[in-house]
């Protein structure tokens, strides 16, 4: 009786263990990736088809990926990291966690999208995502969203939760966060991550997102959603997505091959297919490219050093915590 009783737990454990046991081939690499799940799945499949090297993927927000790496610090397993924030590359480089590598396929990647130990997978930009059915005039610049037609109709992702939004705030803070004070006076809501800011705009509860990640909205528009992506006339910030090889990787050659693959024609085409800008300037995409945008340059070292002050200035201006 008792044995049957105890055996139950063991059987259950065994069943679960057998669910999806990961392959343990020699060459296998582990990739942690923030951002488009379908992109990293396509890339992993394409890479394995080409090289026969299996890839295990863990996908999450930049925050969750980082928390996992932090908690794993005593016994790290990740070989390649793709972050949605360039800040990660800078920080990991300073910690001495990265393996320097320059891919032969990175020749056509512009200099500002690569360092000795990081290279962009692709680039997204922040934009105004506007619902044309909202009955509001089409905005052309950030400041339009602080005007009366947009009273109580604007959402914005929380800069504390998204690196790109933070850089946008840093770029637009101006004198004493005046723009954000105006937006706050106009009833803008700051809440949640990127997707959380978009849904109310699609349904019509709000008219526009201030600082939407462009590729998600472009994808929505392609599926027939009533959403237009507008790049403001005064300029915006871009968010390159760095790929990094961690120096504890036991398969550095496979990891390098993976970076090469993402930067190949095939890999970059996959990047363009999810409406991100390819890192290579010679790959076509069905969307505005870096050269088409007015980009406000952000001194990342300086603004990230002042992250706390900028966030508290922003929160004071927008009535947040």
């Amino acid at each position: 009786m008792r044995r049957a009783f105890l055996a139950k737990g063991l059987i259950v454990g065994a069943i679960t263990l057998g669910l999806a046991t990961a392959a343990t081939a020699q060459e296998k690499i582990t990739v942690y990736s923030a951002g488009p799940a379908n992109l990293i799945e396509t890339l992993a499949k394409g890479f394995t088809a080409k090289t026969k090297i299996p890839v295990s993927v863990f996908q999450g927000t930049t925050g969750k990926v980082m928390a996992r790496i932090e908690a794993e610090a005593s016994n790290p397993v990740v070989d390649v990291l793709i972050s949605a924030s360039w800040d990660t590359a800078t920080d990991f480089s300073k910690r001495g966690w990265l393996l320097p590598y320059t891919s032969p396929n990175a020749a056509k990647v512009p200099d500002f999208l690569k360092t000795k130990d990081a290279v962009a997978q692709g680039v997204s930009a922040l934009a105004i995502a506007w619902n044309p059915k909202s009955g509001t005039p089409r905005p052309t610049d950030w400041a339009d969203l602080a005007k009366p037609p947009f009273k109580d109709l604007v959402t914005m992702p929380d800069p504390a939760e998204s690196g790109a939004t933070f850089e946008l705030v840093a770029a637009l803070q101006g004198e004493n966060f005046q723009l954000f004070k105006n937006l706050n006076a106009n009833g803008m809501v700051v809440a949640g991550a990127n997707a959380a800011a978009l849904t109310p705009v699609l349904q019509g509860a709000k008219a526009a997102v201030f600082g939407a990640v462009d590729y998600i909205s472009l994808g929505g528009a392609a599926k027939g959603e009533s959403i237009e992506v507008i790049f403001p006339t005064s300029g915006t910030v871009i968010a390159p997505r760095p790929m990094l090889i961690l120096n504890w990787s036991k398969q550095p050659d496979s990891a390098k091959a993976f970076i090469d693959y993402v930067l190949s024609d095939e890999g970059q085409a996959a990047v363009a297919k999810v409406y991100l800008m390819p890192a290579r300037t010679d790959v076509k995409a069905d969307r505005p490219l870096i050269g088409d945008l007015k980009i406000i340059s952000v001194d990342t070292d300086k603004v990230y050093a002042a992250r706390k002050e900028i966030l508290s200035g922003f929160n004071a201006a927008t009535g947040g915590k």
Binding site: T199, L202, G219
Partner: protein, 557 residues
């Protein structure tokens, strides 16, 4: 043959070992991380610095008060709805009783973050309510009361089922005796039925309080807009925002643990030194009284509650799942099965995620059921030394946010010195779910054991049965209804657990919740809702099948 004494010893040791692995180990590592900020990288430098910093934070008091207020308000609102409904259901012949039971089971199957999103899409300006009725309730939704009401609608069935079951077990026999002795019906209820059903009711209140203070989805989705922050959202910020602050998160978790232990202490104090034995040798009288003139009002009451708690969120989920685009709204031309087709074709591994989660849910229900029943037995039925420690150990996880349990599990199992580790296998998710959900079977079994008279056990012992036999042949069948109910809740919650899964899912593996969350994150709300609808349907059907099956077994026994 194993002698009785040794069999008992093995029984105790196995239970204790199970609790140590499932609960104590990850929590110990959380505590170590709270004390040693660099513990994750193997250093013991700067001890207590994170704790000092967390406890000297001026916002801590506000966060704690917000958390307590929310917990108390949700428990109060839930009791207000659930206790009258549960009592009526248990003591009277309610028309369509089984239908109401099934409908009130559904809120358990709706993941809280999905329910919150469904309410946002229903009540915000231009939402579904506006599209149907021409007005919206956005102001109410994005306020403290919005958070409290949405959470209440999600958790009150826990109290409803506990009340209807415990009151039902007492039946009308004792109150009828009181009536014969001259008591009014109301007095008989207040002095006899209510006190006797106290263990079950109090246990369910405690569970709801703990569920509320630990819940992340709703406060994150609604509270942020209302400027209402609680401990869990503050903890998640520390784990998600770069630079990651694992120690700060662990330190704040200790505050939640203290809150939960206080509630647990309160329960012990409330129930101490009284006897609640109602299950004797005779079977309970199950005749229910007729409602008479109250029939219609009671039906209306059940209808309104199920409309709000079940039908409304289900409608929003289905409406979104069947929409081609969100911006198209509730128009016939915008409806279609595209999202379900995409899922059936295996888009992004949806089917695989469903299978993974259902298997994990089943495994978690079985494992926590066994561990929960045995540990509750030792606590209530034996005079083992240290049994209170066992009891406390089984409530602790209730207070710890899933994300912190996840961090604890990574810290515990990703140490290089383990010869083998469940980390990066599905087993780590099983451990996480067991840890987070163990309190349910334990609390329900605990309350049920308290109602079983000791005479039955004595009779078995006198007849020569060993404790293990008494447990499996006499006690287990008697507490089975409670235990099965708890295991169904565990199954439902485990199969869609989000917060721990996001961090712990082994590479290359998806669960239902991580699948839904990815779709939301990529702007495919409709595909996420289609998966939610399928999940709610499947988990509800499986739970019903189990419930019917166990009822049959119960009758034939």
């Amino acid at each position: 043959m194993i002698s009785g004494g040794r069999a008992d010893q093995g029984f105790v040791l196995t239970t204790v070992a199970g609790l140590l692995v499932v609960v104590a180990l990850p929590l110990a590592f959380v505590l170590l991380q709270a004390i040693f900020p660099n513990f994750g990288s193997g250093s013991l430098a700067a001890p207590f610095s994170a704790l000092v910093e967390a406890f000297s934070d001026s916002k801590l008091l506000g966060l704690t008060l917000n958390t307590i207020t929310l917990g108390v308000v949700v428990v109060a609102l839930s009791s207000l709805i659930a206790i009258p409904l549960g009592v009526i259901r248990a003591l009277f012949r309610v028309p369509l009783a089984s239908l109401w039971d099934v409908l009130l089971l559904v809120p358990f199957m709706i993941p809280p973050y999905i329910a919150a999103l469904a309410w946002i899409m229903t009540l915000q300006p231009r939402g579904y309510l506006f599209q149907i009725a021409g007005f919206d309730l956005g102001k109410l939704l994005f306020s403290f009361w919005g958070v409290a009401i949405v959470m209440t609608l999600n958790v009150f069935p826990a109290i409803y089922f506990a009340v209807s079951r415990t009151v039902g077990a007492i039946g009308n026999r004792l109150t009828d005796a009181a009536r014969v002795a001259g008591a009014t019906p109301w007095r008989a209820f207040l002095r006899v039925t209510l006190p006797l059903s106290a263990p079950g009711i109090v246990a369910s209140l405690l569970i709801v309080f703990a569920m509320t203070i630990e819940e992340y989805g709703t406060p994150a989705a609604l509270g942020a807009r209302a400027g209402f922050d609680v401990l869990v959202t503050a903890i998640d910020t520390r784990v998600s925002d770069w630079p990651i602050d694992l120690s700060g998160a662990s330190a704040l978790s200790l505050v939640l643990v203290a809150l939960s232990l206080s509630a647990f202490g309160l329960q012990l104090w409330l129930l101490s030194s009284r006897s609640y034995e109602t299950v004797g040798g005779r079977s309970a009288d199950t005749t229910r009284h007729a409602l008479g003139a109250w029939t219609l009002p009671v039906i209306l009451l059940f209808a309104v509650v199920t409309l709000l708690s079940t039908i409304a969120p289900l409608f929003a989920i289905l409406a979104t799942a069947f929409s081609r685009t969100i911006s198209g709204g509730l128009a016939l031309s915008n409806l279609g099965v595209d999202n379900f087709l995409a899922m059936a074709e295996g888009a992004s591994g949806g089917v695989e995620a469903l299978r993974n989660s259902l298997l994990l849910g089943l495994a978690t229900a079985l494992a926590t059921g066994v561990l929960g029943a045995t540990s509750a037995y030792f606590v209530v039925r034996t005079k083992l030394k240290g049994r209170q420690v066992l009891d406390a150990l089984t409530v602790l996880p209730n207070a710890i946010p899933g994300v912190v349990v996840a961090v604890g599990l990574i810290l515990a199992w990703n140490q290089p010195w383990w010869p083998a580790s469940p980390y990066n296998t599905p087993l780590i998710l099983l451990l996480a779910y067991c840890c987070i959900l163990l309190p349910y079977p334990v609390r329900y079994a605990n309350a049920a054991f308290r109602q079983v008279g000791e005479s039955l056990e004595m009779a078995a012992r006198v007849s020569g049965a060993k404790p293990i036999v008494t447990f499996t042949r006499v006690l287990l069948p008697l507490i089975a209804p409670s235990l099965i109910a708890a295991m169904l809740i565990v199954f439902a919650i485990a199969s869609r657990e989000l917060v721990a899964s996001l961090l712990l899912a082994p590479v290359g593996m998806q669960t239902i919740a991580t699948f839904i969350w990815r779709q939301f994150d990529q702007g495919s709300v409709q595909l996420g809702m289609a998966m939610s609808a399928v999940t709610i349907g499947v988990t509800t059907l499986i739970s019903l099948a189990f419930a019917l099956l166990s009822r049959k077994v119960d009758r034939t026994a």
